[in-house]
């Protein structure tokens, strides 16, 4: 995406403005960073009730063709052969050095695979898919395809008022169904650490679905600001910050997304690097960081060990409204990665005490049946 291209809008642009959102450019789109409720209350509302997020900026892609599973496994370490129809998996495209090109969700829809990729990476991902999957049809659903996330402890109660069957959908499963006659694809997944759904909708029906959900008393519109603080508390990576082409899945703590078969067989870009790091350990790891005081440590804050040696850098940091404390993630040298290790964060020239903390900062509350 070139910087001089005109800014894109999602199908909810007019609705965001009607709701009084503060709009900002994000990944080439005009997006709501917050509504009049404000980031803090939007965050807490999502953890207590249900939040509706416009994530239509993300890329939705369909892959179709004979051998699509084998072909896609050559681009990423996800175990797609073990991905049953109706199930969803988290994975990441890797490069030859084992670095991460993007992270994504992959759903097995039976006759095709359905991918959701990051907004900022989607042009490059689509080119990568087209180049890497000869003979496979790569269908991008468009810059204006709708994607809504309904997240929070009552998300299931709310959505089940429209579609009763979604209440018992397993975590990381997908269905194609309809909501008040509007065709939708629904996955039970999200980016907040809460139970919830992501709902794919045609551009011309997205606002209708959003208005139906927002009319439910427990649902509030939530902006990108709270989306970021929610995912940070949940210990989830933001591509381009916590993971990128210079970080491997081992360093990033994402080896849970590489099955035993894929670890042994490899067959994806950078597999030798990942295999070696799995066997010998990496030199650095992504960890949770709990500052001891009240001052947040932001992205790029220098991390020092007890002796004052630089051992890493914060990659995401801010204030966690549910943790009611500053929270951060970052990379530290392997020797300093154990939970409880004392660290110093250099904030405005001062060394502030902190500790390596277990992730997530707040318990994940995914639906487990």
């Amino acid at each position: 995406m070139s910087t001089d291209s005109p800014i894109l809008t999602t199908p909810l642009n007019a609705l965001h403005r009607e709701l009084g959102a503060k709009m900002v450019p994000f990944a080439g789109y005009d997006m709501p960073v917050q509504y009049p409720l404000g980031v803090l209350k939007e965050h807490l509302h999502t953890r207590e009730r249900a939040g509706l997020f416009d994530v239509s900026h993300m890329g939705q892609v369909i892959l179709r063709g004979d051998g699509v599973v084998d072909a896609l496994e050559k681009l990423l370490p996800g175990d797609l052969k073990a991905l049953k129809q109706g199930r969803v998996r988290y994975s990441f495209f890797t490069n030859d050095q084992g670095g991460i090109l993007d992270d994504l969700m992959i759903a097995n829809m039976g006759d095709h695979l359905f991918l959701v990729v990051n907004a900022a990476c989607k042009a490059q991902d689509i080119a990568h898919l087209k180049a890497g999957l000869p003979g496979i049809e790569v269908e991008y659903l468009g810059d204006d395809r709708g994607l809504l996330a309904l997240q929070g402890p009552v998300a299931a109660t709310v959505l089940a008022r429209f579609i009763p069957d979604v209440a018992t959908m397993p975590f990381m499963s997908v269905v194609t169904t309809s909501l008040k006659g509007i065709p939708v694809s629904i996955t039970r997944s999200g980016y907040t650490g809460e139970d919830g759904y992501e709902i794919g909708i045609a551009p011309d029906r997205t606002e209708e679905v959003a208005r139906l959900l927002l009319a439910e008393p427990e649902v509030a519109a939530i902006g990108l600001g709270a989306r970021d603080s929610l995912r940070l508390e949940a210990g989830l990576c933001l591509y381009g910050h916590d993971i990128d082409t210079t970080t491997t899945p081992v360093e990033g703590g994402l080896t849970w997304a590489i099955s035993k078969r894929r670890r042994e067989e490899g067959g994806y870009p950078g597999d030798a690097v990942v295999r070696r790091q799995l066997a010998e350990g990496a030199t650095r790891y992504r960890v949770g960081i709990q500052p001891e005081g009240r001052a947040p440590a932001r992205e790029h804050t220098e991390i020092q060990d007890a002796s004052g040696q630089t051992v890493g850098e914060v990659t995401s940091g801010g204030f966690g409204p549910s943790a009611n404390a500053p929270v951060a993630m970052g990379y530290v040298s392997a020797a300093n990665a154990a939970v409880g290790t004392p660290l110093s964060l250099i904030v405005r020239g001062k060394a502030l005490p902190a500790k390596v903390a277990a992730l997530p900062f707040v318990p994940q509350r995914y639906y487990r049946g």
Binding site: G38, V39, L40, G225, R294, P296, R298, G318, F319, P321
Partner: protein
């Protein structure tokens, strides 16, 4: 009592030899929910336009600049303990620090209420 404003959205209220400094209602609205405040210690020398205090919202950290030269008399511990005062009462209980003025003539270079209102109007 004279109130003046800076282009960085600080207010300074002068009462005799001592001035109180904070951020404006407009500024707190732009910042959003304030979650952390750092105020200067008494005795610290401040220079006009230079860092004096820190205010952080959930998303971002911002500096509060000294509107004029002077010396800190007191930092407001109430906003350190309850940063939300900056949102709820930015031009009252949410003040950041009190200072003496080294050069009161510097106030003449700041905006009065009418000029600041027009300035904020131009920011929309």
């Amino acid at each position: 009592m004279t109130i003046r404003y800076t282009e960085d959205h600080e207010w300074i209220s002068v009462d005799g030899d001592v001035a109180t400094v904070g951020i404006t209602t407009f500024a707190q609205g732009q910042l959003g929910d304030v979650v952390f405040v750092e105020v200067p210690e008494a005795g610290r020398a401040l220079a006009k336009g230079k860092d004096a205090a820190v205010v952080e919202s959930v998303k971002a950290a911002s500096e509060v600049f000294a509107p004029v030269d002077g010396t800190v008399v007191e930092g407001n511990q109430a906003v350190v303990e309850d940063p939300s005062l900056v949102n709820s009462d930015p031009q009252g209980a949410g003040w950041f620090f009190k200072m003496t003025l080294a050069n009161p003539a510097q106030l003449d270079g700041l905006m009065d209420q009418a000029a600041y209102d027009a300035f904020v109007e131009g920011q929309h």
